[in-house]
Amino acid sequence: MTLLGAFARRFAVFLGTALVASVVIFVIVQALPGDVAQATLGLGATPDAVEALRQKWGLDRPLLVRYGEWLLGMLHGDFGASYLTGQSVSGQIAPRLAITGWLVALSIPLSTLVAVPLGLVAAMMRRRGLGAIVNGASHIGLAIPVFFAGAVLVIVFSVILGWLPANSYASLMTKGFSDWARHMVLPVASLVIVQSCLLVRYVRAGFIDVLTEDYYRTARSVGWTKWAGLVRHGLRNMATSLVTVLGMQTASLLVGAILVERVFVLPGLGSLLIDSVLNRDLMTVQGVGMLLVFAVLAINFVVDLLYFAIDPRLRRQVRA
């Protein structure tokens, strides 16, 4: 099997998964009790008024017709329009994705930068004071929910010190870098604090595994020092498991950022999803759902590619 063949197969799986996911999302979303017509009419709703609105929005048509229409639209890159406002779903998603995107794009690399050195220290000095401190701190950090970390940061830096805005978002394009950055510091910091604690656990465990491997003992015996040997021969091995975790973290953060979004009142993807579910604006829910599926699949794909980049043994297997 060639490298190209391997990628082609992965891509086919990608498409197949997306198709299955579209069915699952559509069915689950339709199964939600209540619909957008009722939600919109609220306490003024009567069965007749609800029915009229359903007809107006085409919600009374058979499921299969509506699914077909949605799928066909997506093939043309059209995710449909919100029943309520008539705005295109992709138009609604874009600004939200930008915000969640920044949260993910900043917090994942930053927490990796924090976690790798700390994890290394925690592994190497695990029987000494510093290692124990790092290890203990990461345990405590793991137990802190991200919204709690966020709330504490807000109280300290916004309410007491008054250095930073408590919440809300400033767009990089319209408000400029400094305003944007001031609004991003606390949300990103709270994500980094919690995420890096989790990553430290994985990095530490990964390095400890390396320490017991034969190749490390060999490296030591040919004269590599403890630390240099670990970095030279261990980092790459540890990296495969780190990349796996990072992939999972990135995917879960796309939706999981909702917690941070709520605390800091950032209009991200998670809040769009929740609000649309509450309003039963199903086209938007479906659109966000599909976007997340694509994102998860793409992340997995990238993770697979990274395995190849990191591990020469995998590349050799494929060529053989």
Binding site: L41, L110, F157, S168, L186
Partner: protein, 507 residues
């Protein structure tokens, strides 16, 4: 590559520091100059609210969050109700009613123009009213249903003919149903157009709606260049935003417990007024148990409503006893109809044949006030032998299951619309309360001369109270926290509007 211990430790330390550095602000002296605050020139008013509208089209959606932003600020009505409930001119300088009470002649203010520059003439008013009569929002449609014709007599005179006289309709014209929309507005969902002192500017969904000053407003202009309605669903985030000065006021405080954080009167003012919202413990009258007057009365006697307000809403909120609020012209305090008396409740239940107890399903929509209220009610009713099972539903599921599906025994909802005592006259409404005497009285009251109207509306409210049609728990308070220097905030909510037209800021 060889690293010594020191280097690695150094890298680790730098990495750890980077977390801390990340928390350090760039310029530490920028306090208060963040987006939306109004220190200095006070050209922007930023107000925090809990619920964001899903659409801005009030002809489609019933959501209270739409008139909250748009009514009076962007859209105006022909006539307006002042804080005491009296009717005042707005787009119409005055109006006359024919002696049979059927013909209303409105004289439009010749100065009135839409923000677009188009005059608010009779044709525009007519087309707007027609738009409301054929709206999707059923609350509006039902208040406009008694209009039989609208005529543009000349450019400044509109004659509206009703199919029957109605005292309540005039009030409806002062509120959401009576807004006059610019005929040029095509996309009300994302681009509302009216004649108010502020114009719709932008809507960042999930975050804020921004209004801007209407530079050519025909009346007294607004005081701010921009008014921002920020949506902050999390109560803690709301409090933080207020404490850090990000917002000038909290337009609706949903965490009365947090009031003590604003006790510094040098910095904050707390405004507590009335609203149109009755928090109702609704009974499903089509259930055998609850169709029994004794059971309903027993529940009313069993719940200490003042204690409930203290527990569920920080002691804020007035006891009302029926479906009217103090700003209603015909309000009467009926909160003492069923004083707290658990012994009497037990006796009534025994008389009704439930001496051995009964079980009732309390299915509530998720809201800040429903959960604590439901828990309190469950514990009160347990004292008199009624087992309450609480179930929380998201609002749309509640609408489907409880409101339209009738699948409940008891529920708790805040009814925010003004004059919604009329809901009790339709047996199809989710309470399934069918009292012909009440219905007849309400219909009669609506068509009578004003004095008689007031008397009969009072009598109607008394019927609901005596009949224990529901347990009218309390009136939801209008709770506002504002920074000192903000003036002109209306204390009482007589409509759903958060009326910023009179608000100004010093400092």
């Amino acid at each position: 590559m060889r690293l010594n211990r020191l280097t690695v430790a150094g890298v680790a330390a730098i990495a750890a520091l980077s977390v801390l550095v990340g928390c350090t602000p760039s310029p530490p002296n920028e306090t208060g100059t963040t987006t939306g605050t109004t220190n200095g020139a006070a050209t922007t008013l930023t107000a925090g609210f809990t619920l964001e509208p899903a659409t801005l089209d009030l002809t489609v959606s019933d959501a209270a969050s739409i008139p909250q932003v748009l009514l009076y600020n962007v859209y105006e009505t022909l006539i307006k109700q002042d804080a005491s409930g009296a009717i005042k001119p707005l787009l119409a300088t005055d109006y006359e009613v024919s002696t049979d009470g059927l013909k209303y002649t409105f004289h439009l203010d010749p100065k009135a123009t839409f923000a677009s520059g188009t005059p608010v003439n009779a044709e525009a008013v007519k087309s707007s009213i027609e738009r409301m009569r054929t709206a999707t929002n059923n609350t509006i449609v039902s208040s406009m249903a008694i209009i039989s014709s609208v005529e543009a007599k000349d450019t400044r005179t509109v004659v509206i003919t009703l199919s029957r006289p109605s005292n309540l309709w005039v009030y409806d014209m002062t509120s959401t149903a009576g807004v006059i929309i610019d005929p040029a507005a095509t996309d009300l969902a994302t681009a509302p157009m009216g004649s108010g002192p502020y114009m719709y500017d932008t809507w960042v969904q999930g975050d804020r709606v921004t209004l801007k000053k209407n530079p050519s407003y025909w009346g007294t202009p607004g005081r701010f260049e921009h008014v921002v309605f920020r949506y902050i669903p999390d109560p803690n985030a709301m409090v933080s935003a207020m404490l850090s000065g990000d917002i000038d006021l909290i337009g609706e405080l949903t965490s009365p417990d947090s009031l003590n954080q604003f006790s510094d009167t040098a910095k904050y003012q707390i405004i507590e007024g009335s609203s149109n919202a009755e928090v109702v413990l609704g009974f499903n009258h089509s259930r055998e148990t609850l169709s029994n007057l004794k059971v309903r009365q027993a529940i009313n006697y069993a719940i200490d409503r003042q204690a409930l307000v203290n527990t569920a809403w920080g002691g804020k909120g007035q006891l009302i006893g029926s479906m009217d609020v103090p700003t209603d012209a015909y309000y009467e305090d009926l909160s003492n109809t069923y004083p707290y008396d658990p012994d009497k409740a037990r006796q009534l239940l025994a008389d009704a044949g439930y001496a051995s107890g009964l079980t009732l399903a309390l299915r509530i929509p998720i809201a800040p006030y429903t959960t604590p209220a439901a828990q309190f009610i469950a514990s009160e009713l347990a004292q008199v032998g009624v087992t309450v099972t609480i179930e929380e539903l998201d609002f749309t599921r509640w609408l489907t299951d409880v409101y339209l599906g009738g699948n409940y025994d008891m529920t708790i909802v805040s009814h925010v619309e003004a004059r919604d005592i009329t809901r009790w006259a339709s047996p199809d409404y989710y309470w399934h309360y069918d009292n012909p005497a009440f219905q007849a009285l309400l219909t009669k009251a609506d068509q009578e001369p004003r004095d008689q109207f007031i008397t009969d509306m009072k009598a109607a409210a008394k019927i609901l109270a005596d009949d224990a049609a529901a347990d009218f728990l309390f009136m939801f308070p209008n709770l506002i926290v504002a920074r000192v220097g903000i003036t002109g905030i209306p204390e009482n909510l007589v409509t759903l509007s958060f009326d910023v037209t009179t608000i100004a800021a010093k400092g």
